[in-house]
């Protein structure tokens, strides 16, 4: 697999996901514990958060950010050297559309190659940031 040429300030192709309660429930059903929680139960969301709606797991946003990184760096690179670090700022819920964008912010030579850092932003349909953070990948 050819190694991608990466440069600081490169913009990564974005990923956009429409969030539905079905997609939230499907994500939760991948767990190995059979539990209702603030993501798949309106009642538990009401009890614990005081909201009238369940919220999507932040890990769904992590997964979308992971997709952005993997598509850009390639699975051979990202799946073996990558990381994603997100801070969640706003809730994501059914009906939202989340777009994840990334821009290469720095590079650093390391023993295994060059480590690139990408600034990641998750935004909803209103332009509000729902999560921000960084991803990294080491290109041999």
């Amino acid at each position: 697999m050819a190694t991608r040429k990466v440069a600081v300030n490169d913009k990564l192709p974005s990923v956009t996901k429409r969030i539905t309660q079905e997609s939230i429930n499907d994500f939760e059903s991948c767990g190995i514990l059979d539990r209702e929680n603030i993501h798949n139960s309106p009642e538990i969301a009401r009890q614990r958060l005081g909201t009238s709606f369940p919220i999507a797991s932040g890990r769904m946003s992590v997964t979308y950010a992971t997709e952005v990184m993997r598509r850009y760096f390639g699975s051979q690179v990202f799946n073996h050297s990558g990381s994603v670090n997100l801070k969640f700022l706003r809730p994501v819920k059914a009906g939202d559309t989340i777009t994840v964008t990334g821009e290469v912010s720095e590079s650093e030579r390391v023993a295994q190659g060059v480590k690139y850092t990408v600034n990641l932003i998750c935004q909803n349909q209103n332009g509000d940031q729902t999560a921000v953070g960084v991803g990294t990948a080491v290109v041999p």
Binding site: D26, S29, C30, I32, D34, R59, R70, N79, H80, G82
Partner: protein, 155 residues
């Protein structure tokens, strides 16, 4: 541990309620070991995950298994819950369907920020061949109603 299967094909583990300790934030210790467990990742689980996130090449269904939160839930009954304030995940090798995954969890840190208690839980996953798969940390804010108050006015 008893197991069954969900409609998504995920193996389910049932935790006997009486075996869980009530979670007490003040008593939780940094470095404390959480539950360790094993499960077999099936092709069905991988396919379900890919459908859920709309990515036919998604490689880490382990993200939806929530290794660290599962490790916590295997030890503690946490009736307050928490809100996920952040995740850090490192990827080393994608899991292979049919292989057993072994997870170990621990409390990585806890601290107060703006008078809110945070718990940082961590899980490391390896497969039956000893391949390191993933290391995941979750920053849980343990006063979930505090953020819920801010979120509810949204229309």
């Amino acid at each position: 541990m008893p197991r069954d299967r969900s409609s998504s094909g995920t193996q389910r583990m049932a935790i006997p309620k009486g075996k869980l300790k009530p979670f007490n934030y003040d008593a939780a210790k940094i470095g404390e070991e959480l539950g360790s467990y094993e499960y077999v990742l099936t092709q069905e689980m991988l396919d379900s995950f890919r459908r859920a996130v709309g990515d036919p090449d998604a490689s880490f269904p382990t993200l939806a298994v929530k290794h660290d939160a599962t490790a916590l839930a295997m030890v503690y009954e946490d009736t307050t819950g928490g809100v996920n304030a952040g995740n850090e995940v490192e990827f080393f090798n994608p899991p292979i369907p049919g292989k057993k995954i072994r997870v170990t969890g621990r409390i990585h840190d806890k601290y107060l920020r703006r008078d809110k208690p945070y718990l940082v839980i961590e899980a490391t996953a390896t497969d039956e061949d000893g391949r390191l798969l993933e290391r995941l940390r979750t920053y849980q804010m343990k006063k979930p109603d505090e953020v819920g108050k801010k979120w509810q006015p949204e229309k």
